[in-house]
């Protein structure tokens, strides 16, 4: 099999195909592209740099060892990495085994079929950052706070209510409204 040519300009999908073919340079390029994002996410959830480093390592290593877990027609590679890293980080937070939970969560998280390329593949990191910042601006500070606690720390609605000293119903409505606004703001981008 001829070696796939990959560079820092290759799409995520091209890098993934090369990783499937066990090309180490593709893994290096993907790490260069997403390690900071994964590390930031893990650090925000876990707070300890050493543990965040471990989550970052494990995320990329899992893709390398088990590339079949990612199916390009079910979503973007960056989403796959982020979902995997978040699951790992939250499972560490909850001191539970991550493997089965992740597999369950990922394998059918995106069931739509036939989408060969993901819009995010052609959007630069900076553009993605701008997209989400613009979308988050639609949320009130209170909505953003509960969504971020739920996302990064995995706290339940009642745990968030307890922490913020507000009724559970308020947390529920803020999460719902926050997610709805986020989804609506990104509707034409994803």
């Amino acid at each position: 099999m001829s070696k796939l040519t990959v560079t820092s300009l290759s799409t995520d999908l091209d890098l993934f195909r090369a990783i499937e073919a066990h090309q180490m340079d593709a893994l290096r390029l993907l790490y260069d592209r997403y390690a900071s994002l994964i590390y930031r996410l893990a650090l925000r959830s876990l707070r300890f740099p050493e543990e965040a480093e471990d989550v970052t390592q494990e995320t990329f290593l899992k893709l390398w060892n088990r590339p079949h877990l990612y199916q390009p027609d079910r979503g973007s590679l960056s989403n796959f990495l982020v979902v995997m890293a978040r699951s790992n980080a939250l499972d560490r937070l909850r001191s539970r085994s991550s493997h089965n939970r992740f597999l369950q969560r990922w394998q059918s998280v995106m069931l739509q079929e036939g989408r060969q390329t993901n819009p995010l593949d052609s959007v630069s990191m900076e553009e993605r950052s701008n997209l989400i910042r613009t979308a988050l601006a639609e949320l009130s500070e209170a909505e953003r706070t509960v969504v971020e606690i739920a996302y990064y720390e995995g706290l339940s609605r009642s745990e968030i209510a307890e922490r913020l000293n507000i009724p559970v119903g308020t947390v529920k409505s803020r999460i719902r409204l926050g997610l709805r606004k986020l989804r609506h703001a990104l509707k034409h981008s994803l």
Partner: protein, 284 residues
């Protein structure tokens, strides 16, 4: 969160809550299974779940830029090399054996019986050559990989040396004091050192496992001159990725060998007459 009947005629409101619970990871394993069975039969809902999941996965892009250790890449590549050996199997198009030799043309050749073994020998020779070339190529790739890893490690060491130069300089100051710090509260796994020079206002901290801060958080250093004395504010800081920090204390008294140093977690504009949770203290 538990749902008594997650898939028995749910209302639109129930669906919405299930969807939220699913993407946020609130569902139990059984509830997840039940919801995924519903997703398999409901492409519209599945598409909505996918889109919401993609939206949420953009959230980390808004976090302050933090880089993992530069050694991380080399560590990953080493682990990948150890765990994911390069496949030696030939791809299908090269590995497929020639068509079985039962064509009429071959059968009519008088020395056909001889061609088979010769061709087989040729193929064996070619295969050996091919295999040796592959081995050499893999060896070359491995050496190149190791060189890249070594370069990355050297680069990281160089950066760490630069960062540590400040620390080294402060340690070389005549009369420099090194105060051992231990973690407390949320930072109970932390430890480190505070370097001060009596009469000087420069403070240098070297810490391990000190929780990383968000943009709206700082650590504050307090000096307790003697037992029961009120803590004196000695400046605030955020540590680097390697756990070091350098800042200027507001008063020379901060370095006058107090009975104890305390480090608290605060907001940058918190008033100075109170302190947030204790994170580290000097090991007296």
């Amino acid at each position: 969160m538990t749902h008594s009947n997650p898939h028995d005629h749910p209302s639109p409101d129930d669906w919405q809550e299930l969807l939220e619970d699913y993407v946020l990871g609130y569902l139990s394993a059984d509830e997840t299974d039940a919801f995924e069975r519903q997703l398999a039969n409901n492409p519209e809902l599945a598409a909505e779940v996918a889109a919401l999941q993609e939206s949420l996965s953009l959230l980390p892009y808004t976090l302050p830029v933090q880089e993992p250790s530069a050694l991380g890449q080399a560590r990953l590549l080493r682990a990948a090399q150890a765990q994911g050996p390069i496949s030696l199997s030939l791809p299908k198009d090269e590995a497929t054996p020639p068509e079985a030799s039962d064509s009429p043309t071959q059968r009519t050749l008088p020395w056909g019986w001889l061609l088979g073994p010769i061709a087989a020998l040729g193929l064996v020779a070619l295969s050996v050559d091919n295999y040796q070339l592959r081995q050499q190529n893999q060896e070359t790739a491995r050496v190149q990989q190791e060189l890249e890893q070594n370069r990355a490690e050297l680069e990281q060491l160089r950066r760490q040396m630069q960062e540590m130069s400040t620390v080294m300089a402060s340690l070389q100051e005549p009369g420099a004091r090194v105060h051992s710090l231990v973690g407390a509260g949320q930072a109970s796994r932390s430890n480190g050192y505070l370097v001060t020079v009596p009469g000087e206002t420069q403070m240098v901290l070297i810490a391990r496992n000190l929780p990383a801060l968000t943009e709206d958080q700082v650590y504050r250093l307090w000096a307790v001159a003697q037992e029961a004395a009120p803590p004196q504010y000695c400046g605030q800081f955020q540590q680097t990725a390697t756990g070091t920090a350098e800042w200027i204390a507001p008063a020379r008294g901060c370095s006058a060998d107090p009975a104890q140093y305390l480090i608290t977690l605060d907001a940058p504009d918190d008033p100075l007459d109170s302190a947030g949770p204790l994170m580290m203290r000097s090991d007296t």
